[in-house]
C-alpha cells in the first residue's frame, strides 16, 4: 500500500502542470485550484507515508521501497524505483509542507482577485490598475498577467522535487534534478520582458549545468564500477569496501572520486563557492520562486544528494578517524562558503539579496557538517533551514507586497525591495513582522525557542567534539555575522520610523499570504524540539532525540551522539545573542546608506567574483565565439574556402567559355562550318550561269565522258 502511494507522490503536480498548460490557461481560479489541489494531494500522500514510516520499528532497515526492471542491459536489468527510508521520509515531510505553503502563498502574491492592470503585458511584473470609485481615482495592485503559467511551472518544479526525493536510484534522482534546473530557468526568467531576468535565468542554468556535467560523470563512474545505479546496490558494505579500496585518479580511491564528482554537482545546485554566482541573481524571479528554489526545494536537493551519498563519501572512514580527502574538501568548501557569503550579506541593501546570501551561507553550514561526518546534524539543519528560510522569503515577499501597495498608493517610484526605503513596518504589517521575527531568530540561532538553534548547535558540537577546530572557528564567525545581518535586516525593515512615504502607506497582505507564514513559523519554532540531544544540560532527555534515532537509522551503523561539551554551547549562545544585540544597537540609528559603515565596496560587490568570472570565462567564451570561431574560422577560413571554390568555378567557367567554347565550338565548329558552306556556296554558285546552252554542253560532256569511261573500262 505504501509502495503504491510513494509512486503516486510526484504524480499530481505533474498532471497539474499539463492540465494547466493545455486546458485551463485562461481560467485563473481553476488553474490555481488545480495546482493547490495537486500540491494538497501530494501533501496528503506524504503525510500518510510519514506517519506510517514513524510506526515502523527499525525503519532504516525495513524501509518502504519498490522497483521495476526498466532498461535491459545485456544479461541484467537497470532497475528504477522508489524508496522512502528515514532520510527521505523526513525530507518528504518538509517538502510537502513548504510546497503547499508556497502554492497557497502564490495565490495572494500574484494578486488573485484584483483587476487586470492598465498597461500590464505578459512578461513584465504587473504595475497596478486604476480604480475610480466615489469621486477619486487610486491605483491598486493588479493581477499577474501570466497567472496560470506560474502555477503550471511551480507544479512542474514540485514534480521534479518529489521525483528526486522518492527515487531509489541515481538515474531518476538526476531526472528530478534536471527538471528542477529547467524550472529554475523558466521561473527565474518568469518576467521575461526584463533583460535582467533573462540574463539571470541563463546564468542560473549555465552555472548549475557546470555542476551537472561533473555529476553526470560521477554517475557514469558509479555505473561503470558497480553495474547499478540503485542506492541499495551501491551502499552494500562489500560494494563500499571495493569502492574505497580501488585506487582511481589523482590519488583518490574510486569512492573518493565519485564522491567528489557528485559533490561538484551539489556545489552547482546549492550555490557553494565557486559556483555561487547564480543564486543572488535568481532573486529576479517572483518571491514564491525564490522561496521554492532557495529554501524548500532546489538548493535542498543539492544537500540531500550529498547527505544521501554520505556512505559513499565516507567509505573507509569511521568516526574518530581523520577525514579522507573528499570529506576534507567538502568541509573546506562548506565552511569557506559559509563565511564568505555571510561577509557579503552584511553589505546588501536589497531585502531579498540578504536572504539569498544567507541561504548560501547556511548551505555552507550543512555541507561543512557533511564534510566532517555529522550526518544527523546536516540533515537536521537542512530541514529546519528549509522551514525558516521559506518563512523568511515568503515574509520578505509579504513586505515587498506591502511596500508595493504603498508605492501604488502614493505614486512614488521607489524601489520596493530596498531596505533603506522601509522602516516602521512592524506597525503596518504585524503578522508579517512577528513571523519574520521568528524566522530571523531561527536563522540566527536564538536559543531554545527556535529550531535553528538546535540544529546549528548540533553542528558546532560535532565540529568541536571531533576536533575539527578550524571548521568550528570559521562556522562560529559565520554564525556571528549571520545573527548580525539578520538583525540589521529586521531593524531596518520593521523598527524605527518609516523612511519613505511608500513605507508609511504600506498595508498588511491578504490571508492567502499570511496563513502560510504562520504555518511555517510554527514549524520554525517547533521542529527543533524533535532533535534535542540527550545529553543537553537541563532539557536533554525530557524529549527523546527522535530525529537522531530516526534519521540516523538510515545509515548502516547508527552514528554515536557526540559527547557534550560546554564550549560549543557557550560559543553558539554568544555568537547568536551577541550578533543580534550588536545588529540592533548599530542599526537603530542608521537611516541611510551613507551612515552604514558596512557599505564596503568589496563586500557590496560580492568580492568582485562576477567580474572575475566575466574576465576569465565569459569574455574568452565570447571572444572564441565571436572572433575566433565566427570571424576567423567561419568567415575567413571556411567562407574563404567556399569563396575560393566559387571563384575557381567562376574562373573555370570563364576559361571554358573564352578558351574552349567560343573559339573552338562556336567559331571553329559552328561558325567555321557555316563559313565553309558559305565559301563553298559562293564559289560553287558561279556554276549557275543562267545560260542554257552552257548547261546543255556541260551535261552532254559529262554524258560523253561517262559513256567513254563505260566503253573503255567495262567493255
Amino acid at each position: 500500500m505504501e509502495k503504491f502511494i510513494i509512486w503516486l507522490l510526484p504524480l499530481p503536480p505533474l498532471l497539474s502542470f499539463f492540465v494547466i498548460l493545455l486546458f485551463t490557461n485562461k481560467r485563473k481560479a481553476l488553474s490555481h485550484g488545480i495546482a493547490v489541489g495537486a500540491a494538497g494531494l501530494s501533501w496528503l500522500g506524504s503525510m500518510i507515508i510519514f506517519i506510517r514510516a514513524l510506526g515502523v520499528e527499525e525503519f532504516g532497515k525495513h524501509f518502504f521501497g519498490a522497483s521495476i526492471n526498466w532498461l535491459p542491459t545485456g544479461s541484467t536489468w537497470l532497475k528504477i524505483g522508489v524508496q522512502i527510508d528515514p532520510l527521505s521520509a523526513a525530507v518528504v515531510f518538509f517538502v510537502a509542507w513548504t510546497v503547499l505553503a508556497i502554492f497557497v502563498y502564490s495565490i495572494g502574491y500574484h494578486n488573485f482577485g484584483q483587476p487586470i492592470g492598465d498597461h500590464d503585458v505578459a512578461g513584465l511584473p504587473p504595475h497596478g490598475a486604476t480604480l475610480a470609485e466615489h469621486g477619486h481615482k487610486h491605483i491598486v495592485p493588479s493581477i499577474e498577467p501570466m497567472y496560470s503559467r506560474f502555477f503550471a511551472f511551480i507544479s512542474l518544479f514540485a514534480f521534479g522535487m518529489y521525483t528526486l526525493v522518492v527515487s531509489d536510484n541515481l538515474l531518476t534522482l538526476f531526472v528530478g534534478w534536471e527538471i528542477m534546473g529547467l524550472c529554475s530557468y523558466l521561473l527565474i526568467g518568469f518576467w521575461f520582458g526584463k533583460p535582467s531576468a533573462r540574463n539571470a535565468a541563463v546564468k542560473a542554468f549555465m552555472t548549475t549545468r557546470i555542476g551537472d556535467v561533473f555529476m553526470l560523470l560521477g554517475i557514469a563512474f558509479v555505473y561503470s564500477f558497480t553495474g547499478s545505479l540503485s542506492f541499495s546496490e551501491i551502499f552494500k558494505p562489500e560494494m563500499l569496501q571495493a569502492l574505497a579500496s580501488t585506487p582511481a585518479f589523482f590519488g583518490l580511491s574510486a569512492a573518493g572520486i565519485i564522491g567528489l564528482l557528485l559533490f561538484i554537482g551539489t556545489v552547482g545546485k546549492s550555490a557553494q563557492w565557486p559556483l555561487h554566482v547564480w543564486l543572488p541573481d535568481a532573486m529576479e524571479g517572483p518571491t514564491p520562486v525564490s522561496a521554492m528554489i532557495h529554501a524548500a526545494t532546489m538548493v535542498s536537493a543539492g544537500v540531500y544528494l550529498v547527505i544521501r551519498m554520505f556512505p559513499l563519501i565516507s567509505a573507509g572512514w569511521t568516526e574518530g578517524m581523520p577525514l579522507n580527502t573528499t570529506m576534507s574538501l567538502i568541509a573546506f568548501i562548506g565552511a569557506f562558503t559559509a563565511l564568505f557569503a555571510a561577509t557579503i550579506a552584511v553589505a546588501q541593501n536589497d531585502i531579498k539579496r540578504v536572504l539569498a546570501y544567507s541561504t548560501i551561507s547556511q548551505l555552507g553550514f550543512m555541507i561543512a557538517a557533511v564534510g566532517i561526518g555529522a550526518y544527523v546534524a546536516a540533515s537536521f539543519h537542512l530541514i529546519t533551514h528549509a522551514f525558516f528560510k521559506a518563512l523568511l522569503f515568503l515574509g520578505s515577499g509579504s513586505v515587498i507586497h506591502g511596500m508595493e501597495h504603498g508605492i501604488l498608493y502614493t505614486g512614488d517610484h521607489t524601489d520596493s525591495q530596498d531596505m533603506f526605503n522601509m522602516g516602521g513596518l512592524r506597525k503596518k504589517m504585524p503578522i508579517t513582522f512577528w513571523t519574520f521575527l521568528i524566522g530571523g531568530f531561527a536563522l540566527s540561532g536564538f536559543p531554545v525557542l527556535t529550531a535553528g538553534f538546535w540544529s546549528k548547535d548540533e553542528i558546532f558540537a560535532e565540529a568541536f567534539g571531533n576536533g575539527h577546530l578550524t571548521v568550528f572557528v570559521v562556522l562560529a564567525m559565520a554564525a556571528f555575522l549571520t545573527a548580525f545581518y539578520t538583525m540589521r535586516q529586521i531593524t531596518l525593515t520593521f523598527f524605527g520610523e518609516p523612511r519613505t512615504k511608500a513605507a508609511e502607506h504600506a498595508s498588511e497582505t491578504p490571508w492567502t499570504m499570511t496563513v502560510p507564514l504562520i504555518v511555517l513559523a510554527v514549524f520554525a519554532v517547533g521542529y527543533g524540539w524533535v532533535g534535542i540531544p540527550e545529553n543537553f544540560p537541563g532539557l536533554g532527555g525530557l524529549i527523546p532525540n527522535w530525529f537522531h534515532e530516526f534519521v540516523g537509522g538510515t545509515l548502516s551503523k547508527l552514528p554515536k551522539a557526540v559527547v557534550f561539551s560546554w564550549v560549543p554551547l557557550v560559543t553558539s549562545l554568544c555568537v547568536a545573542l551577541g550578533g543580534l544585540l550588536f545588529g540592533w544597537l548599530v542599526y537603530r540609528k542608521v537611516k541611510s546608506p551613507k551612515q552604514d559603515f558596512l557599505q564596503i565596496p568589496v563586500l557590496k560587490n560580492k568580492w568582485y567574483f562576477d567580474e572575475i568570472y566575466n574576465f576569465i570565462f565569459i569574455k574568452p567564451a565570447f571572444w572564441i565565439a565571436e572572433r575566433f570561431t565566427s570571424l576567423y574560422m567561419d568567415q575567413t577560413v571556411i567562407d574563404g574556402i567556399l569563396h575560393s571554390v566559387a571563384r575557381f568555378s567562376l574562373f573555370l567557367g570563364h576559361a571554358f567559355r573564352n578558351y574552349f567554347d567560343k573559339p573552338v565550338i562556336n567559331e571553329l565548329l559552328g561558325d567555321g562550318t557555316g563559313n565553309v558552306v558559305k565559301a563553298s556556296g559562293s564559289s560553287l554558285r558561279k556554276i549557275q550561269v543562267g545560260r542554257i546552252q552552257y548547261y546543255m554542253v556541260a551535261s552532254l560532256a559529262v554524258l560523253v565522258i561517262f559513256a567513254l569511261l563505260y566503253y573503255f573500262l567495262l567493255v
Partner: protein, 103 residues
C-alpha cells in the same frame, strides 16, 4: 529494198549530231529551236526505219512517229511564243543574254 537498216540509222545519227551542234553553238534562240527540230526529225527517221525494217504489220512505229509530230508542233508553238514574249520584255533573243536565273 536493198538499203541496209544501218544506212538509215547512220543518217539519223548524223542528222542528230548536226542538230545537237546547232543547239549548243548558236546564239539566237530561234536558231536553237531550229536545231531542236533537226534532232526531232532524226528521231523520226529512226522510228520509221525501225518500223519498216522490223515489223511493218505492227503500227507502233508509225504511231510513235505521229505522236512525235504532235509533240514537236506543240513544243515549237510554245517555244516560239516564249521567245517572242522574252523578246518583248528584254528586247533580245540572244540566248546568252537571257540569264536571269544565274547566281
Amino acid at each position: 529494198m536493198s538499203i541496209p537498216l544501218s544506212w538509215y540509222l547512220i543518217l539519223a545519227a548524223a542528222l542528230f549530231s548536226i542538230g545537237l551542234f546547232g543547239v549548243l553553238s548558236r546564239k539566237n534562240a530561234i536558231a536553237i529551236l531550229l536545231g531542236v527540230e533537226l534532232m526531232l526529225n532524226a528521231v523520226n527517221i529512226n522510228l520509221v526505219a525501225f518500223w519498216r525494217y522490223l515489223d511493218p504489220a505492227k503500227m507502233a512505229g508509225q504511231v510513235f512517229a505521229i505522236i512525235v509530230f504532235a509533240v514537236a508542233a506543240a513544243e515549237v508553238a510554245v517555244g516560239l511564243a516564249l521567245i517572242i514574249s522574252v523578246y518583248r520584255r528584254r528586247k533580245t533573243v540572244v540566248a546568252d543574254e537571257i540569264d536571269l536565273m544565274k547566281w
